[in-house]
């Protein structure tokens, strides 16, 4: 339950209330973004276990219970109401809450909201200008709509994965989960855009955020290469040139597309600057076998830090390939107070969390705050039903008794299971 000493909700989105029917990553990240910038996010979970990401690693065992540190990041600042939406009274309770919410965000499989009697039409019945944001793997219609998929399967669409990796190894994805974060970010922005439209003419909307479309539309994918030149990107038979250069203690990235003359000077071979083999991007790709070893010869003799320091001196674009422990200790990020803790943190995963993805300098606290830890399943069921839905104590008692609503037993230390 939220600590009564927790900081009050503030931020640029403070006037919005969001009913959050999502679980796992994409949806919860969307609503986390909204909550961190001030929105009132009510997370609706299925009793008694709630969001499946509560079981996802890594786990934190501080504060007296074992809990998912990933969930704790994705769901800070939200309250949790546990409702059985398949129970008629649970559905009714949800609609009564929805009446007082600006937007509903969901990431069920397409068709589930309709089956629960919670379609866009149903929601409009209680709140005419509602914005319903539906996040799904492949969108609300189309041939793939009902396909089962994990993020790997979605990532397999379109040339990016087919071109990632080296033969004869299989195509490989990039970092797991990034498509979901990307779609969640798009969904959060799209929801606010739709609310802006609503503010103007009073018309709500149903948004269809397909994770597949989001990643296929990324500009770096350059999907129209095929409609222009009729070619597919392919995996190579060996490592790609100039990807990363070995240093004495790891790898570094050096951009060879800009400032070859400065690189030549830095590695003590000024003659390379005027060598026609290296005079353009295309030429440098063609003659990678000649240029790459000369750069490597210089980088392997130095640590990552030395390479980067020299690069800055010569205005060469470079960066270390960091490990995660190095990122957590990065003095630049520390100086910017990027990592943040939840007020009254009681375990490592509440003490150190990634901070704000953007800062609004003209708003108090830069517009962003961590106010309360992620909730236990149903930890806010009763106060939210009363304060938001206007349920009487008797009505709440009935919902709890018939199993349509759920609240954790206060005597079992629910507070610790953030």
């Amino acid at each position: 339950m939220a600590d009564s000493s927790a900081p009050a909700r503030s931020g640029p989105l403070a006037r919005h209330r969001i009913l959050d029917l999502t679980q796992s990553i994409a949806g919860p990240y969307a609503t986390k973004l909204l909550a961190d910038y001030g929105a009132d996010v009510i997370k609706v979970e299925r009793p008694p276990y709630g969001d499946q990401a509560r079981e996802w690693q890594p786990f934190c065992s501080g504060g007296g219970s074992r809990h998912s540190a990933f969930f704790s990041f994705l769901n800070a600042n939200k309250s949790s109401v546990a409702l059985d939406l398949r129970h008629p009274s649970g559905r009714e309770a949800l609609l009564r809450l929805a009446r007082h919410c600006d937007a509903v965000v969901e990431n069920f499989k397409p068709g589930v909201m309709e089956r629960l009697g919670l379609s866009y039409r149903d929601l409009r019945g209680v709140r005419d200008d509602v914005v319903l944001t539906s996040i799904s793997n492949f969108g609300q219609k189309g041939a793939f709509r009902d396909f089962e998929a994990t993020e790997l399967n979605i990532f397999a669409l379109g040339g990016r994965m087919a071109a990632s990796g080296t033969r004869p190894r299989p195509p490989v994805r990039l970092l797991g989960g990034s498509s979901l974060f990307m779609a969640g970010t798009v969904a959060a922005g799209a929801t606010l855009i739709a609310l802006r439209g609503r503010d103007r003419d009073g018309l709500g909307d149903h948004l269809d955020v397909s994770i597949a479309n989001v990643i296929l539309g990324e500009p770096d994918r350059g999907l129209c290469l095929y409609s222009y030149s009729g070619i597919n990107m392919e995996r190579l038979d060996g490592p790609r040139p100039y990807q990363a250069f070995p240093a004495a203690d790891g790898f570094v990235v050096i951009n060879v597309n800009r400032g070859i003359e400065r690189i030549a000077e830095m590695i003590g071979r000024p003659e390379l600057a005027s060598d026609p083999r290296f005079s353009s991007n295309v030429a440098r790709q063609e003659h990678a076998d000649s240029l790459e070893p000369l750069i490597i010869e210089w980088t392997v003799a130095r640590t990552k830090a030395e390479v980067v320091a020299e690069s800055h001196k010569f205005r060469v674009i470079a960066a270390p390939v960091a490990t995660i422990p190095e990122v957590l200790a990065n003095p630049g990020l520390r100086a910017r107070d990027y990592f943040q803790s939840i007020p009254g943190a009681r375990c490592p995963c509440q003490e150190t969390q990634p901070g704000s993805p953007f800062r609004i300098h003209t708003v108090p606290n830069l517009g962003w705050s961590l106010r309360r830890p992620a909730p236990a399943v149903g930890s806010d069921t009763c106060p939210v039903l009363a304060d938001v839905g206007g349920f009487s104590p008797t009505e709440i008692e009935q919902l709890l008794r018939c199993g349509a609503a759920f609240e954790p037993d206060p005597t079992v230390g629910a507070e610790a299971s953030a």
């Binding site: 189309g142 397999a156 974060f181 990807q243």
Partner: protein, 438 residues
């Protein structure tokens, strides 16, 4: 009732390079905002409009032909520059700067991803712009933030990828960062986050009437995406595991070969039921690895068993058979197959657009869809300086004489000043700058 796009009437200046802040502006444009992208004929930081003086028959151009105006025909730029107007301004030229100031005075949003040093040098900081427009919402994308030792470091997709730890976590677990393709996801991630930032800051602007200043560091956006591995180190003190195509939550998950040349399928089994169904389709025994734990433990052996079976299946047939049994599976499709698949050509993702320099083509459209306010490609990608006249004379009311002087003095134009005379074989000297699109 006529349905307006949600951002109709919102005026945006897109003063950025490459992808991050410009793609944010594309998403705003998709939702109806009036976006003017400002380029410069004297410099192009990233080569999104293609290489200078390309050879004949190069990938990236329609039919691989650079053509008469190659800079208007390159895929990397044209892929995601729909629904905007494009002008060129050399903002160091006093008259061009005057034009920019007129646009700034009447805009809602100014988006840039120049380094803090460059915005100071050009007089385009938040404080500079606030003096011109006291209600402006200013969005500044940087690699590492506006202060600190790295504030003015040029950050590219590759350096952000490395610096955040992303590069060390992606690709094959057993090889070095060399082996995976480059990832420039930070640009798209930053763009999507900037859209959210603009909407939040507009709320504040509308409430207070005051100008708003957003600072977004691409590294800090990408670190959100890395929250799972970051939390792993926070809670255990150990570096996170590199999973490649596998999952920390279930097994098996991987990419397996099928019949044909370089055909692959991605498959996952998230629980015992999906595992049993997968075994049934492939003719394997599910009882050997009955628990998630045992499957995670023996992932290598399971992969071998799966590979032995998938090799005799066509990728598409296997995908359909597995989906029929509710097992997550997807062919590793190439771009060509996306362009041929009804899932994507049905008009809800790939859309046709016609431009004089590229003809009729299919492009990705808005990345989300609205039921009540259809978001479409209303105008195609634009050529360099294509809307100079429309914006400078039409919208701002500059005279034809003043416009001609801008061209004469190189303040605006429709081809790059640093290019050799182009096309190379013909005499281009008689081609007036105004001719191409005005």
């Amino acid at each position: 009732m006529t349905l307006q796009l949600p951002l109709e009437g919102l005026s945006v200046i897109d003063f950025g390079d490459a992808w991050s802040s410009p793609f944010a502006c594309t998403m705003l444009a998709d939702a109806g905002a009036d976006v003017v992208r400002v380029e410069d004929i004297h410099r192009q930081l990233s080569t999104l409009r293609g290489p200078v003086a390309p050879k004949e028959k190069v990938d990236g151009y329609p039919e691989r032909e650079p053509g008469e105006r190659p800079w208007n025909r390159y895929y990397l730029f044209n892929n995601s520059e729909r629904n905007k107007l494009g002008i060129t301004l050399d903002v160091r030229h006093p008259q061009a700067r005057a034009i920019l100031n007129e646009l700034i005075a009447k805009c809602d949003i100014f988006a840039t991803n120049y380094t803090p040093r460059a915005t100071r040098h050009l007089g385009l900081t938040f404080d500079d712009l606030k003096r011109i427009n006291p209600r402006i919402v200013y969005g500044h994308v940087t690699g590492y933030g506006c202060e600190g030792a790295l504030a003015n470091s040029v950050a590219l997709g590759s350096t952000i990828d490395a610096w955040t730890g992303h590069m060390g976590l992606r690709g094959y677990p057993e090889t070095t960062p060399h082996d995976a393709a480059m990832s420039y996801i930070a640009d798209a991630a930053g763009a999507a986050t900037l859209v959210l930032a603009f909407m939040a800051a507009l709320e504040e602007r509308d409430r207070t009437g005051e100008a708003q200043c957003i600072e977004l560091a691409l590294t800090e956006v990408l670190l959100e995406f890395l929250s799972q591995p970051l939390m792993q180190t926070v809670t255990t003190g150990q570096p996170p595991v590199v999973y490649g195509s596998r999952s920390p939550e279930w097994a098996p998950q991987g990419v397996y070969p099928c019949l044909g040349d370089d055909r692959w399928i991605s498959i996952a089994a998230r629980d015992d039921v999906e595992w049993a169904s997968l075994c049934l389709v492939l003719g394997l025994s599910a009882t050997e690895y009955p628990s998630a734990e045992s499957r995670q433990q023996h992932h290598d052996q399971i992969d071998q068993l799966i590979i032995e079976r998938t090799g005799s299946w066509g990728a598409e047939a296997l995908m359909l058979a597995l989906q029929e049994s509710a097992v997550p599976a997807m062919v590793v499709y190439r771009d060509s197959e996306i362009f041929e698949h009804p899932e994507f050509t049905g008009g809800d993702f790939l859309e046709e657009a016609r431009h004089p320099d590229t003809g009729m083509r299919l492009y990705p459209g808005a990345v989300w869809r609205s039921r009540n306010r259809p978001m479409k490609i209303r105008t195609p990608h634009f050529g360099l300086g294509e809307h100079n006249h429309e914006v400078i004379c039409g919208q701002l009311g500059w005279s034809e004489e003043a416009y001609a002087a801008l061209i004469r003095e190189g303040a605006i134009g429709t081809k790059y000043s640093f290019w050799p005379s182009w096309p190379p074989a013909s005499d281009a000297s008689g081609r007036a700058e105004t001719g191409a699109h005005d």
